[in-house]
Point group: C2
Chain length 278, copies 2
């Protein structure tokens, strides 16, 4: 891991999330665009965004995006579904570099793999993302019907480390049976960056409940969209993964190193502390 | 509900929490000291404090305490276990009015009702409160041995509204059996202001697991300590409850009205929005 941008390498890409979940997007980016330099910012002092108001989320996200632009990032990835749903336009107006969110790529990925062109999509997300109806709009724009379901307990269950636990399975059974009573999806979009860590449990619970829906990870879809935008269409998993990234966190750097390494699936050697809105 | 302090009434009391849980303490105060005026501040834009670092929690709590002092509060109640555990001294140094936390009153209440003078206490709390060992120290100061257990899923379960739900019972069974394997408590201290909403489930799960421990609500204990300090020893439930309070929230006022009314068990007609650290 280098702390300075390498000018011989690709562009400097800023990745922002309220916490650790966005590291699943960074992981996909490191693999998809290994030549870029990355700056990751987790606004851990103010997480979670999922239950906060639009005005508060927009204020926090804009501060973070400006920090990344000031650090020299030429391209921003908002690796947070809530911030994308509620603040993408505010962020785009606040900075002068291109900004990619996680929602549109997820909808496009669903469109590509759905067996029927006008199929049904089930979106699992936080309360704030669901209330924004950002996924419903993004799916409608590509001709898909989306049913959005809030799953507030999944983030705390992942953060408790109960990714393969009977309580998590029981909670998934409750959320997914309620959802399947409302729609018959062909695809299930993971509309929160924590959910890839329980993707297997989600898939198995769907099968148990009689659904054959394909599970789509927005993190992978977003990394693919970024690679197209940056002209670096590097097929996932073909070459070695990059390790050139810097991490900033607004709360404890020790906790970020510990929890963050689980989401990134590689050690995070150094984290810089950052004060925002102080 | 009046928006201005009534000078003919008792003192102006400021009550602070990161969110809604502290309203269980305000509820106990309204009943215990009905002649006082109250200002409640929920720092909802930055909740929850439970998983954040000491430095961040202290900064947020001090800002909130200063706001309450500036509003004319003559006595502050830190109705948040995490802020009491990690920032009580910082708050006391930052303001010039007396400050009461929720932890010491809880330990004193346990001491009074325990059948044996040197009995064992089990403390259920958030990760940050447990890591601070503030309850262990407060209990040791009155000659009690405390075992502190972190229960990170209980706050999200209460906020999901699953206060009497099989998943909550199952999670309690897991947390409490692990705890009872470590100690044989005579009292269980609810070291988080959300937990009174599941006090019945906690008590029933203890009985199911063969424990006869008494469940102690720190909110009630804190209101009693405040009434002694303010010379208003009004026995709980004897007269009508006061309704003279103002509420401030740093995030959505609508959400505060809706969720807050559940914790306060009475309607909250008006909430003022407040920007802190912006």
């Amino acid at each position: 891991m280098s702390l300075a941008a390498d000018s011989k390498r690709g562009p400097m890409v800023g990745v922002f999330d309220s916490g650790f979940g966005g590291l699943t997007v960074l992981r996909a980016l490191l693999s998809r665009i290994p030549t870029a330099n990355y700056v990751y910012l987790g606004d851990t002092a103010r997480l979670p965004y999922g239950a906060k108001s639009q005005a508060t989320i927009a204020r926090y996200a804009v501060e973070s995006a400006r920090f990344l632009e000031d650090r020299g990032c030429e391209y921003l990835v908002i690796a947070c579904n809530t911030a994308t749903a509620l603040a993408l336009e505010d962020i785009r107006q606040a900075v002068s570099v291109p900004v990619l969110g996680v929602i549109e790529p997820g909808a496009h990925a669903a469109k590509r793999i759905l067996p029927e062109p006008d199929g049904d999509v089930l979106v699992l997300a936080t309360a704030a993302t669901v209330q924004s109806h950002a996924y419903r709009e993004a799916c409608a724009a590509v001709g898909l019907r989306a049913t959005e379901v809030a799953c507030p307990l999944l983030v705390p269950l992942v953060e408790e480390g109960w990714t393969d636990h009977r309580v998590t399975r029981e909670v998934l059974r409750i959320y997914l049976s309620e959802a399947l009573a409302k729609c018959a999806p062909q695809a299930v979009l993971l509309g929160c960056t924590h959910y890839p860590l329980i993707a297997v449990a989600i898939e198995e619970t769907l099968r148990e409940l009689g659904s054959a829906a394909v599970v789509i990870d927005s993190a992978e879809a977003t990394a693919e969209a970024a690679s197209v935008a940056l002209g670096s269409n590097h097929p996932s998993g073909e070459q070695e993964t990059s390790t050139i990234f810097q991490c900033f966190a607004t709360d404890s750097v020790e906790k970020f190193q510990r929890l963050g390494s689980l989401f990134l699936r590689q050690p995070i050697e150094h984290v810089h502390h950052l004060d925002l809105g102080g």
